[in-house]
């Protein structure tokens, strides 16, 4: 049996973000092909943009970002 090659996008991030990604993927399994470790997973090609968008939504709810001023 030759080694298996799977096409996809390797996503590397820190554990807290990975936890959110897992939560987004939970149930419908739309994004993750393979969960590799606490900060790495393989995501379906073409699904990355949507994952990023969903992640951003989640973060907006959970994290209040410090407002950045454009002052000089």
């Amino acid at each position: 049996m030759p080694p298996k090659a799977t096409r996809g996008v390797l996503v590397q991030c820190d554990e807290s973000i990975m936890a959110i990604i897992r939560k987004i993927d939970e149930g419908r399994n739309e994004f993750i092909i393979e969960d590799l470790d606490s900060g790495t997973c393989l995501v379906k090609e073409g699904k990355l943009a949507e994952l990023k968008r969903r992640l951003k939504e989640q973060l907006k709810e959970t994290v209040r970002e410090a407002e950045d001023s454009e002052s000089e």
Binding site: V9, L36, L42, V43, E45, E70
Partner: protein, 494 residues
Amino acid sequence: MSSTLFDYLQQQPGMAYTRLYRQPSAVLAVLRRMLPHLAKTIVMALLYMPQPILESDLFAWIRPESQVELDESISTLKRLHIVQVVPEPAAPRAYKLSSSFASSLREALTGQGNHRSFGVPCTTRDPNRMTVEDLDGHARRRWEAILYYMVGSTGKGLGQADIISTGTKSLLEVGQFVTIRNERATITKEGFTFLLQEANAQVWSLLIVYLENALALHMEPVEMLSFLFMLGSLELGMDYSTASLTPTQMTMLDDLNNFGLVYRHADDQSRFYPTRLATTLTSDAGALLATSVKSTPSGPVTTAQAAGAGAGKGYIIVETNHRIYAYTSSLLQIAVLDLFARLKMRFPDMVAGKLTKESVQRAINLGITADQIISYLQTHAHPQMYKHAPPVLPPTVVDQIRLWQIQGDRMEANSGFLLANFSNFPEYEDVCRYAESLGVLVWKKDEKRCFFVTRIDQVKDYIAKRRLAAQKDVKSGQRVAPKAPGSVAGSSRT
């Protein structure tokens, strides 16, 4: 980059190669442009050889420490259907050049034959003869209009560029260099990668999209490709006859005129002039429009070479307080800066602004990466910036741009292939090391025996070769590697 042309060629069926390689100009272009030097050497060695050469004889000729280059060369030559392995199945393995490639290359090198593959110069004199300067001007205007359209600045008050044809517009959209948002073109990540390339690579990127859409445009891809390869062999400043061209190639002339690769008089269908963009298509030194940069303020975005060359090319100064000063009056360059910087002042020969969190994240939202912004700033750094180099850019600014990306994005993503299910650890380790030596390895995890690569072809070849060698060992009963106690098959996954 020629690698995209390589990817395109690789997807073609064997038949397409047979037809393409009938053209001596195409063969010469492939040799010139597509092959690593070692592969060229191998081709030249095999060119006049009447019999296939044994693999062992060929490899004896190459130093053992060049194994990686050798693998790459053989793999490239096989993929492009230039060498064939004979006999099939190979025992013992021997190589020969594919016959159509060999005979066309011999014709090209010795000037035999009655093919018209290197273009047919016009016999009649052109009453409105174009000079090299005219042609450079035409090429630059057309090509810049395309770039300017991509940065989406038309109608932004910066000024008006030439209008580009609807065909070109839809091509840019199909190639995903731009997306249309609210009826306006917006640049994408691919588009920005495109901008960062030097002109020759840009031209090829667009031409690949053009070729890939051939069937939708009712055109014949092989004819298009051989025409492009022919253009690469023409002489700048000469006019060529259209009499020997096929209908597909005549249609192409119109499109290539829009891209700025050729020039045609509106009222004279019998001749065309190749521009510098066309004549340098297949040369490996893509200097192209570089000469014109100095003479006009609105020179095209030339990159790569500008990095080290300094004088006259770099124009951006970045200060540690994130302020940027760009000494340019080129609308195109200003428009590019405007994608990721907040520009505040414009003077006749300079614009000033600042890199802000908002401006950088806006660019990142379009899909442009922090690394692309940094590499753009670095490539176009003003010579003044090199006085204290390295580093050319202030490290605080570079770090901050990256940080802004992480804040906006919070992840690093790479496209490619995950390799898993290796039967034993030595195989995993060896293949992984090979991938690393090729520079395609992104991530690995020893415990799971899996790793991630950005490109897979060569790695696949390597695995197959390794397995074949292992099988032989088993058959002949020699040196069967004793299985390490820990590496029982099937335990690779947890």
